[in-house]
């Protein structure tokens, strides 16, 4: 038994005096006690990061509640974001068939037989909302597909040329 205590002392690097009697089973070895750091310092830091002195509890309670309420509001903002997008999609899809007028200076270059075409002030019809495709969200930044008629140019069959242009919702106004 004495040899075992000597063995443990050498193994654990503890003086033999501190190792208790090995007769008692499950003996707890006492390590030199560490001084515990006081946690009272954290309270003022949490409540008021800029002040150094310890503040009394009332303002601490109010200031600690304020950040938590802002945290909840930010959480709710994040949750609402998806529903905002869905609302936009529904709004866009419900506007198909509505006449619109372009209100910003805009030129397009894809009209057949015309190298450049000025769209400002022109009236067209919303043909499609492109922000959603087979139920999946598409990242298109010009989601409104609007059909215009180019009066200045006549196609091969003598009718004015029709073309489609993609627009953002702030580039035109609805003509209800």
């Amino acid at each position: 038994m004495t040899t075992s205590s000597a063995f443990f002392s050498s193994l654990l690097n503890i003086p033999t005096s501190k190792i208790p009697n090995m007769d008692t089973p499950l003996a707890k070895i006492k390590y030199p006690s560490r001084r515990r750091t006081s946690f009272t310092h954290f309270h003022p830091i949490r409540s008021a990061p800029d002040s150094v002195s310890i503040i009394d509890n009332l303002p601490a309670a109010t200031s600690s509640s304020a950040p938590s309420s802002s945290a909840t509001t930010t959480n709710s903002v994040i949750l609402d974001d998806d529903s905002v997008n869905d609302d936009e999609v529904k709004k866009g899809e419900s506007r198909v068939g509505v006449k619109v007028r372009v209100k910003v200076p805009l030129k397009v270059y894809h009209v057949p037989k015309l190298p450049e075409y000025e769209l400002t002030g022109k009236v067209g019809v919303v043909k499609q909302y492109v922000g959603i495709h087979k139920g999946k969200k598409i990242s298109a930044n010009l989601p409104y597909k609007v059909e215009f008629v180019a009066d200045e140019v006549l196609g091969r069959d003598g009718k004015p040329v029709k073309f489609l242009a993609h627009l953002r919702d702030d580039e035109f106004e609805f003509l209800d």
Binding site: V108, H110, V130, H133, I138, S139, A165
Partner: protein, 148 residues
């Protein structure tokens, strides 16, 4: 023989052949390269497409050909992985859906309709960064996109 002796005398006492440490870094680099690089065939296809479309739309490549090269490689990579050259300068939630829908398939809708290429691949002459060239060679692409 004398030269050999001179070289071994530099690393005398270690007994390790100089070949062993050299193998490890080159193998490591080879693995990384295989995962990132698009196929040369796709790069060539997108290079030809970029030249042709720049001529057709009257736009020019950037003064910094590195920009043009990176975009061409990005297009080639999407063509390899998705089947269509999706714009490499954007973030997508669902790439196959975007490919099917087609808004961002190069040439994307903003480029086709408004000549707005935010990748800076096709630049209108009035753009500050537009160069004078509508052509780029495969060597230029390789030189300007050397991966470390």
């Amino acid at each position: 023989m004398k030269a050999l002796q001179a070289s071994t005398s530099y690393s005398v006492g270690f007994g390790i052949s100089p070949a062993a440490p050299l193998l490890r870094p080159s193998r490591h680099r080879h693995v990384i390269l295989a995962q990132v690089e698009p196929s040369e065939k796709s790069v060539e296809i997108m290079r030809k497409f970029s030249e042709q479309y720049a001529r057709r739309s009257g736009t020019y490549f950037c003064v910094d050909k590195g920009v043009t090269s990176v975009v061409i490689k990005g297009l080639a990579d999407h063509k390899d992985t998705l089947g269509a050259p999706l714009c490499p300068c954007r973030h997508y939630d669902d790439k196959p859906a975007e490919v099917q829908q087609g808004f961002w398939n190069c040439p994307c809708v903003p480029m086709r309709e408004r000549k707005e290429c935010h990748c800076m691949l096709f630049l209108t002459p009035d753009n500050d960064f537009a160069g004078q060239e509508q052509a780029i060679t495969l060597e230029e692409i390789k030189e300007t996109t050397v991966n470390m």
